[in-house]
Symmetry: C2
């Protein structure tokens, strides 16, 4: 059984995750996290919050998942967030038209770039058939399908809304308010953990390509000319970089570089991106990604959004495939500029000059008592054109007369009637549009990676055992407490130990069903790092056994020392150090 299949079986049986609405035949692309999975996911989110919000001094917001159409006109999602589809006239199934062409025509690697018309022609030329029913698709139209889930806000269809395709938009649109909370000082970072949606044509590979997912995104707003990341903090962190050049080479492999080397050698172009690649390493290690199955892959030029200067993905290897778990992008001023253009408020920030500057400004103050009678209905337009001309080319006012062109007609005005003057002005600063650096994490794919990388099997006492090697801070349960038997007071004793450990803040489970061996296996399967067993010796000397998941080693600990002992184990000590 492949590791992905093994995980799918375990995940459903033990309640990590499973396809939603199974009782209604299932709904493709939607997964429900059961108790164990929801707890693991929450622990991963908390680790992210700790490292990317609290430790970096950023803030977090929570925005709605439904947003109005105007937002996505500005962001470009309404026009550009499409997949190319073809619907079979015979069976009604819908398929990715570009993928069909790529499968049918060996030379074509990126059919989407060819456009719907050409893809339609290629389907006809190569006699592509429907993968579901094998009917010819030659006459089926190829369309663009927008991947946003649409809905209507309020009755009727006057106010279309969409489920956000990324949490980032809920941050960008509120920039006018967020900059106030930051007291108009750059840089500042705003994070959000929440649901996002993509109405995929073909959801697949469990949690990898789903229709509803959780993102953890940080939007770091910076002044591109003045702000620099504290690169020294991460200069020596080693990054497993897989740059575009290595991807193009026949035998290219990821190679370790420190952050400093990656910048000095020009492998990573943006200091900000390099900084976050460095900071994120601690996160992946903490949540339990196997760093031998992890790499940072640079986007090839064709993958990159036109506004993005440099993009890197963090990728994990799962069942032989590399999947993106994080995108690190330098988004320049693209997002705020677009919203500034479409929205009614300002998406700039006022940047003070170091010293106030005195600048010369050419301006006009046209004599309307002359322009009015002279040019009638055109007077206002002429005044406006003079103002624009003065700002653009003050030499035009050097002579006695000046000419402006309005709708193809030239009007000549005596310079002395224009009120032209060059004045000195003192300016304290200027309005700039901040740039955005964005690390964007796919939480579900991280959960999935941590589970697959954690799957282990070995032999204990001659029996095969499968266990989940989750770190003690990520595991849904930190410690499980068992009574050897449910009699002679052992169970009461075990329950009171479990309660005590809960009060100390540990995630605890209590189990008294089945023999001890089976209970250990159950906890091994859900990744519980420590089990505590109350037995008959406990009644004599107030000790319990503490058993460690990975080594299956055991030691005896005094009950009164137990919270401290578990705390030390979680912090990294081993059983023999207790």
């Amino acid at each position: 059984m492949s590791e992905t299949a093994a995980l799918a079986e375990l995940a459903k049986r033990r309640g990590f995750f499973f396809a939603s609405n199974g009782a209604y035949g299932g709904t493709a692309g939607f997964y429900t996290y059961g108790p164990e999975g929801a707890a693991l996911k929450r622990n991963i989110e908390d680790a992210w919050r700790d490292l990317f919000v609290r430790k970096l001094g950023n803030v977090e917001l929570e925005a709605p998942t439904v947003m109005p159409e105007a937002v996505f006109e500005a962001s470009g999602h309404l026009d550009g967030f499409d997949d190319m589809i073809v619907e079979c006239a015979e069976c009604g199934a819908t398929h990715r038209a570009d993928h069909l062409v790529e499968d049918a025509v060996p030379d074509i690697e990126d059919a989407e770039a060819l456009g719907t018309d050409r893809v339609g022609e290629l389907i006809a030329e190569h006699d592509v058939v429907c993968p579901s029913c094998e009917a010819e698709l030659a006459d089926a139209p190829v369309d663009e399908f927008n991947l946003m889930f649409g809905t209507n806000i309020g009755p009727g269809s006057a106010s279309p809304g969409y489920l956000r395709p990324e949490t980032a938009q809920g941050i960008f649109v509120e920039f006018p308010r967020l900059k106030e909370y930051a007291r108009n000082q750059l840089p500042f970072g705003v994070a959000q953990i929440g649901r996002a949606y993509r109405n995929e044509i073909s959801p697949r590979r469990a949690l990898v390509r789903v229709r509803e997912f959780t993102q953890a995104e940080l939007e770091h707003f910076i002044d591109p000319e003045r702000d620099e990341p504290p690169i020294d903090r991460v200069a020596d962190v080693e990054l497993p970089l897989y740059p575009a050049t290595a991807q193009h080479a026949d035998d290219g492999e990821p190679e370790p570089h420190t952050v400093r080397e990656a910048l000095d050698d020009g492998i990573v172009g943006s200091e900000w991106v390099a900084y976050y690649l460095g900071r994120a390493m601690e996160f992946y290690e903490r949540i339990g990604i196997d760093m031998d199955r992890f790499r940072y892959r640079q986007h090839l030029s064709g993958e990159r959004a036109h506004y993005a200067a440099d993009c890197w993905d963090a990728e994990t290897e799962l069942g032989g495939n590399w999947i993106e778990v994080t995108g690190f992008a330098y988004r320049s001023d693209y997002d705020l500029s677009k919203h500034g253009e479409y929205a009614e408020e300002s998406f700039t920030i006022f940047r003070q000059y170091e010293e106030p500057r005195t600048v010369e400004r050419a301006a006009v103050d046209p004599d309307m008592s002359y322009l009015g009678p002279e040019f009638g209905g055109e007077a206002a337009a002429i005044a406006e054109a003079l103002e624009a001309l003065a700002a653009r080319d003050r030499s035009a006012f050097d002579g006695d007369e000046v000419g402006v062109n309005i709708d193809g007609e030239t009007y000549t005005i005596p310079v002395k009637k224009t009120g032209f003057a060059v004045e000195e002005q003192t300016e304290a600063g200027e309005h700039i549009t901040p740039h955005v650096v964005e690390p964007s994490f796919g939480v579900d794919r991280l959960v999935y990676s941590v589970l697959i990388h954690g799957l282990e099997a070995d032999t204990v006492d001659g029996e095969e055992r499968s266990f989940l090697e989750l770190s003690p801070t990520m595991a849904p349960t930190t410690v499980a407490v068992f009574p050897l038997m449910t009699k002679d007071g052992l169970d009461d004793r075990a329950r009171s130990i479990a309660d005590r450990l809960r009060v100390e803040g540990f995630e605890v489970s209590y189990d008294d069903t089945g023999n001890i061996g089976r209970r250990y296996r159950r906890q091994d399967e859900v990744g519980t790092p420590y089990c505590v067993t109350v037995d008959y010796e406990t009644k004599e000397d107030d000790t319990v056994t503490v058993r460690e998941r990975d080594s299956t080693e055991q030691t005896r600990v005094q009950i009164e020392d137990l919270p401290d002992a578990i705390g030390r184990l979680v912090a990294g000590e081993t059983l023999s150090e207790l």
Copy 2:
């Protein structure tokens, strides 16, 4: 300024919450939590999780917000989750038709119960006009409008989906799997904190009536005959009960009753509901609801869903109005029965008898070699009818012949050809549909209540001060650290103290802008309970001032004792006890 208006101003200015998409003119019914509000909301959710999941031994899941239509056919939301609307032909505005009638006709209190036809007649009879443009609404049709946000899953409209109107459905539909995780043992509780949606006609009153909101719901699955709540744990908890009888009385007021009294006197009908009313008191107190502005109100008979035996709402008083913040319902087997009826899997659980039972079962084994030739195409239907008859009325087989009726025709069959026999069978148990007890919390309304109840004003040093009396465990920031001046090393010292407190797990903010008085006011406004100031005395004796928000008292503490001191303050000690 009313307290709701005062809060709205504070909430926007200081980043608790504000209407979403303001730069695009706003989107009615959608709110974004800024940094302070998101932190407060998270603290409230964590308190809920601690009390209703961890402490009660329940589990939590996380399900998608988009669910397929079949789920809502079963749940009744597709047919029944409607508001009555009328659209003005003149201006296009949509209004709640029942509300217009209730406003226009003094005697009518529940117009919705009258049906759309009658409400349409009443609009015409009373010359009701459009509140927006004052046009006559007499000819405008009155319709039912479904409050679920609809969308389509995948391309085309073949798979309609809806944004869930309550998180509960994501739990109910997965009952077949959840009972496996509970090893088929009742009772067990499954909780979820997540978004839910109602496409309100008239969103209003800030966070009270919104289109996207957060629910924290617990579905407790119980065996109605065998499971009892541990009522002793809450027997002495005092509940401010406002029963239906008091609501009907002219001078009825909420009255305190212990849980035990409420049950003994029959005020609360369900032990399970009473148990949760008791448990929840600790939660409301912990998050900072003003318990003098809190009550439990019983549903009047007209408010209750037909399946609900007894329902109570927790209500808070805000600006003179009482709003529901929690619903406590005994939902019987309604939800699981409906899904069992509509879905393909079983929504029952196998209940073992105390002892296996021997029962007599009457059954038939018809001789088809006789029925076939004798009755032709009707033979199968006759066999089926015989089986049903045997189960229903075994005396029908007492004679030589037995008659069955199929589609109005009676067929007579010799009993010896039916294979009728009464057999003894041993049964280990039976399948039952669990009942559901549901405490359902509206998180946004709780956030809103905590903020409004926390708004305080007083006079300090002759100046008016407004502050937010949030409990130390709920406040977005636990401790703010200030240097008196940003020179002479005071700021470095303050920063290192802030870092140290962060490592200890406190939520810390650092502020060095403006004079100290202004910095205190800023923290007062966002409810920060403690401020630490580094001044010139610090350089001499390594002490700092610790200032308490509500009393504005200050004391000096050694820096090395600071984490412990803050910890003790958070735990409830006062400044003078340090």
